[in-house]
Amino acid sequence: MRGAAVIRESTYLVLVLLGVSWITFSMIYLAPGDPAELLLSSGLESADPARVMAVREELGLNRPLVVQYFAWLKRLASGDLGCSFRTGDPVAREILSRLPATLCLAGATFLFTVAGSLALGLLGALKQNRSADHVIGILGILSISVPDYWLGILLILLFSLKLGWLPVMGFDGTTSLILPVFTLGLSMAVVQGRVLRASLLEIMGQEYILFARSKGLSGRVIVLRHLLKNALVPVVVMWGTCLGSLLGGAVIIESVFAWPGIGKLAVDAVLGRDLPLLQGVVLVMGFSYVLCNRLADLACRCLDPRWGREGR
């Protein structure tokens, strides 16, 4: 039964990834005009018709769409994402060169978010309806209402330009991480902390907690083993989503801080109408998002075997 479930789930995952790749593949046909012409025309110059024909033949653009899709998938499997319109460099290489910056930012933000949500969630639940809880509640609704990129600009203005404590932008050492990590992580940490708080409070009322308490278990054991383990499930789902979207590059925040990561690359690709580059970036973003969500799902199943039974 378990084996069958694994096969069914993996097949479904492959089907979703195929859907993602199909959308990514077909987006180049969404653009008005002929892809071959787009490829050849640089800026204002229009392409030479004879060369357009040659490129069409070379790229197999005359073949049916489905055949092209599978040819594209085959190239994809060997790591060939095509070449950028702009620079002519392989897309895979450009993405790899942007990966370290995004991984750094994503990793640091993820740690900040996890630590922050645990602290805020536990504090809110253990001090329910006390002043600390109310402050976190108000902070929560404010932090989801303030647009994060605006917060980022304000922080740059205050800490980098006025006070001169932190570097203005770019990826340069640990101090350059502080502002983007805080900007990205604040609202996520607070929101997830609120979800954890609600989940903790729900479980605190359960009979097995009362039982653990009446057995005379220490407060710490109850909180860690009985409360937190069961309350984490909904938060772990959010952690997965958070990590997935961070690994794909934080599109807006990377632009605010001129962070040389994948998110910034995506925006540059859009503004430069560099479709192969955008295709590659979107694919990486989609895949990492799906896989992280999947991982979170598996983690939830370890925490709570009942997870995911209903539905589907």
Binding site: V233, V237, V270
Partner: protein, 270 residues
Amino acid sequence: MNFRMKAGGLLVLGVVLASLAAPVFISGDPHAVMLERRLLPPGLAWPLGTDHLGRCVLTRVLLGGGVSLFAGVGTALMALVPGMALGFLAGLVGPRVSRIIMWAVDVMLAFPALIPALILAGCLGPSLTSAMMGLGAVGWAWWTRFVRGQVLAAREKEYVRAARTMGISRWRIVFYYILPQVLPPVVVYAAFQAGGMIVALSGLSYLGLGIQPPRPEWGAMLKEAGLYSARAPWMLLAPGLAITLAVLGFNLLGEGLRDFLQVRPTTRGR
């Protein structure tokens, strides 16, 4: 009516009225470039200062509200209506059709929220339409999954089963037994999503992928303000505060409605 509902409702109403009334009170051309009065700090003549082209920041924030608010709410509705219809369908029909719908949903939700908007902006060129369509493309999928879950839960309620055994017609059950249970959470999350869409649209405009200049819009104004933040920080404050107030209004409204309609926050399941 609780406090948060009233506060949120008043905020939303205030922002909407201010941006509706703005065109009536503004005299002269709000887009006129006057370089001799550029980057003036807030004062009597210009309550919120002027921008890098000498335009009044207050005027532009008020005018920008029209675009930001209505595009945001419009996008939220654009996602809600088809998403809800498909969610009902997926919750009511047999497993085969339901599985196909949910596959499409999972594929759409495989993209982080802003990505379809980036794709459309890359293919069709940056514009408000491509930004709205892109956000709507992920939005409907979220609603479909959410509404389907609600419909499935409602279908299993005792009195819905009882109604079915009594032989009440299918449509009657959908409209009189299931819909009233699904609507309250939908209303609550629609308020949250309206706020979310306003932030997302302004973010896309900030990147230069939403509304194009010279039309005023809060995100686009922040993009211009970012370039002058050291010399003219007032350009930065007004549009950002406007977004915050509008979104805070929708979020408070959502939280208030959630308590008022007694919708349980979804902490478990999806």
